[in-house]
């Protein structure tokens, strides 16, 4: 098994650490590769799109030729987890903020996102969330976080803050508006790994 973490920019080492701990916890072995260039995504069995700055990530994914590889892999059913900026990149449609920067979205999930739905850094927050696939509350860290504001019939909502959808899945794609890599709670990484190993 091979799990890729897109490593262009952002919370990369945190996702790698979380994956390592999660693998240890479940007693399974997988190689974790950090990806900055084309050629590696097709060799993976699962992929994480970390948080960072979505504008930067989006344009470098295209410049490095990784974007098309991700689309291809997603079409073949590779489990992909996008967190924060990763959620924006997975989306089909963005709000005016996203449009303004001519951002390159991967257009994989049938959702519309608001780039900074909750506001600027001053409004960033932690909150105890109910996530439908977890058996107890989950302390989630939202940093200038996006949110899903519209979604198609194939999208399953996993969690909401007010009216905003902050966790959702569609087939092999899992999108989180917050940062599971910043806390010690590994349940969402485990949920993702269940999909990788369950294929």
């Amino acid at each position: 098994m091979r799990i890729g973490v897109i490593a262009i920019q952002g919370a990369v080492s945190e996702h790698v650490d979380a994956l390592e701990h999660a693998l240890l916890e479940r007693g399974e072995v997988a190689e974790i590769v950090t990806i900055k260039h084309s050629g590696l995504v097709p060799t993976c069995d699962g992929l994480i799109l970390p948080g960072g700055e979505s504008t930067t990530l989006g344009s470098l994914l295209v410049r490095e030729g990784i974007a098309d590889e991700i689309k291809e892999a997603a079409a073949h059913g590779m489990p992909i987890m996008g967190t924060c900026a990763g959620l924006i990149l997975l989306a089909k449609e963005g709000d005016s903020q996203v449009e303004k920067t001519h951002q390159d979205l991967l257009s994989l999930m049938d959702v519309k996102v608001n780039r900074n739905a909750f506001g600027r850094q001053h409004e960033s927050f932690e909150a105890n969330l109910d996530v439908s696939v977890l058996d107890s509350q989950y302390n989630a860290v939202f940093i200038r976080a996006p949110a899903i504001v519209e979604y198609g019939n194939d999208v399953k909502v996993l969690s909401k803050v007010g009216e905003f959808v902050v966790a959702a899945e569609q087939g092999n794609l899992l999108a989180l508006a917050f940062h599971p890599e910043l806390t010690d709670d590994l349940r969402l990484h485990q949920y993702f790994l269940d999909r990788v190993f369950g294929r």
Binding site: A11, E53, D130, R144
Partner: protein
Amino acid sequence: MELEKLRHGTKLIKRGFAKMQKGGVIMDVTTPEQAKIAEEAGAVAVMALKSVPSDIRKAGGVARMADPEVTSAIINAVTIPVMAKARIGHFVEAEILQALGADMIDESEVLTPADNFYHIDKTAFTVPFVCGARNLGEALRRINEGAAMIRTKGEAGTGDVSEAVTHMKQIMGEIRELKGKNKEELIMVARDIEAPIELVLETAKMQRLPVVNFAAGGIATPADAALMMRLGADGVFVGSGIFTAEKPEAMAKAIVEAVNNYDKPEVLAEVSKGIGSGMKGISISSIPDEQILQTRGW
């Protein structure tokens, strides 16, 4: 989940914000137009300023927080985070920047210090702070005051990368030296470098600073940026280096690509072509002592 149960401004959120900048380039801008160029080039954030450090150096006089109108205009022009500089110790400038919506505040030696003894109590703010440091003790003192990110001081506005190199190597070397020391020896180190023991222990264990550590101060070319990444920086600030270069757009884009490919000399060679000449710069040794910025703050 109800909106009123949200917790704001925690240490995790502040340090987490800085982590999202890792592997990125943060660019100094003085107008909304420049901010858009930086965003298009792939900057992860911009630093809103009245003038870039090399111009501050030329102008002399007292350098203060930028005009709030300019800062607001820059905030409205881009979707990436906007940082802004407050004078060392000037907590009211910092409060104003927080009220304006700045995403991170740089308590910066580039501006004229407002307090000769104390830095800002950064734990009292909801937004995170970045502070400059030249060695491990200085970095840990700033973190203890609540800084969520550290950057080398370097020597801003010079285009001479040597001081940033010195500071990065100093901090990295001091962290390596902590390895293998027992607790009583680490207590002695904490006393010597005037840093809190808890942070020294944490740094020794993690073998890195407890917060994100960027390079800043004199970075002027794609090769400079890659050099700082090779020395272990989590990302880079480029101040005067972009908008005093001959072709700012090309320089900005090339530095972003250099940071993403810092360990690939053949890519660095390609991105360094056709970007025009870098900022003229001024070598550190020709600057009189009283005009050195890095010795501000303690």
